[in-house]
Symmetry: C2
Subunit: 243 residues, 2 copies
DNA sequence: ACTTGACACGAACACTGTTCGTTAGTAGAA
DNA sequence: TTCTACTAACGAACAGTGTTCGTGTCAAGT
């Protein structure tokens, strides 16, 4: 009787069911990490659910068991990039510098994954790292700078917006640079050169200051411009402080 | 012989060619105006090339004879919304207020079509209105406030970024409000209420200032917050001015 | 009348985020 | 051990996006 099941060819009318691939286990951390990897390598435009899923050797639908939607995923990634930011104990003698240091660190972390800034614009950042950093910044401004809590919290809100906006703008340039196939330096030189030429070509009777200040207007690295805006904001805060 | 062509029924095997619809004529102005109409009525998310084309009773491909791509279209729309902004002659006694007035006007114009702020983030605004306004703001800062052209131009760059970012953030909230089907007031109250409850629920030992300042942190309208940031920036500028 | 160039148009491409229904796997209970 | 219930993984499909390509139309010029 055992011979009945031995080595009988499968009839050609049988649809052989494809071998079921083993299911992989995913968790949120893996998904966030894969997203960050794609983001850093290819930019925010490349971060589609399909692309992230491909990185995990699965399909996009699998991600939805762990994140509600793409926006939530980007939010999680955003908080992840802030994990290494440290906030010092407030020192009334140096509160302004301390504050700027934290702002710079946040900006650098965001800019290093600079496309992710879009997530900070889209949602109030309330991940664990965002909250930790905000509390630390509040302490610097309130305990170090003697600012009122309302002033301090509004200032942090505004400055967080400024960081995100600057990093986001930078990310859009980065996307253009990538698409151009040029190096960052080449892209920047070309972009700034074109802008300079354009400004210089404007009619001087209507745009005397623009035309006359082309050099200054187009000078400065993105770091320098970020610092300039931060200086203005913090000088404005200093006028309200009482350490 | 003339009778041969009279009133002979079309044989049923003929595919009668559908009547050719008359071609409409488009120009860039129409396209920009239609885009603005969709933007104002339905928000930036609704501004697809198809939606704009539908507004003009044509197909999306027709738009590409007049605009290079969607990004350029949004850029044109952005410049359009600034058409009514007026910039006063500089007055050294009031340069700071003059400057703030212009910033507010730009912010209001952008926020009134607030989704369009995304375009200002994506490109250096070099449309005719943007250039006109920038020149006028330069005049206020340089001639009115005695600032160096480098200071003035960088400040305008930073503040333009601030305006765009704030308006853009506002637009994201507006999109959520629309999607919620609630009124602006309902949406805002609910959003702020949830944020307040969330902050209040945080562990007080780790977030003493956050929990202790929930009221202040969540107070203030978007106008008030915008003004606060603008005040900080302009106070920072005032520290560098020499009218 | 013919030619040329620009524009309008429709079809199609490649891609997006997400949902829905099905299947697989696991833990807990009987 | 078996059964049940739940959750996660998966594939197919949906509805939508920006854009390109090829074709046809129209207007101006020769």
């Amino acid at each position: 009787m055992g011979r009945d099941t031995e080595a009988v060819p499968t009839p050609p009318w049988h649809k052989t069911k494809p071998a079921t691939r083993p299911r992989r286990h995913l968790d949120q951390d893996q998904i966030v990490a894969a997203t960050l990897k794609v983001l850093d390598a290819e930019g925010l435009d490349a971060v589609s659910m399909r692309r992230v899923a491909a990185e995990l050797d699965t399909g996009p639908a699998s991600l939805y068991a762990h994140v509600a939607n793409k926006n939530e995923l980007l939010d999680l990634v955003y908080d992840r990039v802030l994990v290494d930011i440290e906030v010092p104990e407030p020192d009334p003698a140096r509160w302004a510098d301390q504050f700027k240091d934290v702002v710079r660190a946040c900006w650098r972390a965001t800019a290093a994954h600079n496309d992710i800034a879009a997530a900070a614009l889209a949602n109030i950042p309330v991940g664990p790292n965002s909250l930790r950093i905000a509390e630390g910044m509040l302490a610097i401004l309130v305990r170090g700078g003697g600012l009122a809590p309302r002033d301090a919290s509004w200032a942090i809100d505004r400055i967080a917006l400024y960081i995100a906006a600057d990093a986001y703008e930078g990310s859009l340039h980065l996307a253009k640079q990538r698409a151009s196939g040029k190096s960052v330096q080449e892209y920047t030189d070309e972009f700034v050169g074109q802008l300079r030429d354009y400004y210089a070509s404007l009619p001087e009777d209507r745009f005397p200051l623009t035309v006359g200040s082309v050099g200054q207007m187009t000078a400065g690295s993105s770091d320098e411009r970020f610092e300039y805006g931060l200086d203005l904001l913090v000088d404005g805060l200093a006028a309200r402080s009482d350490p």
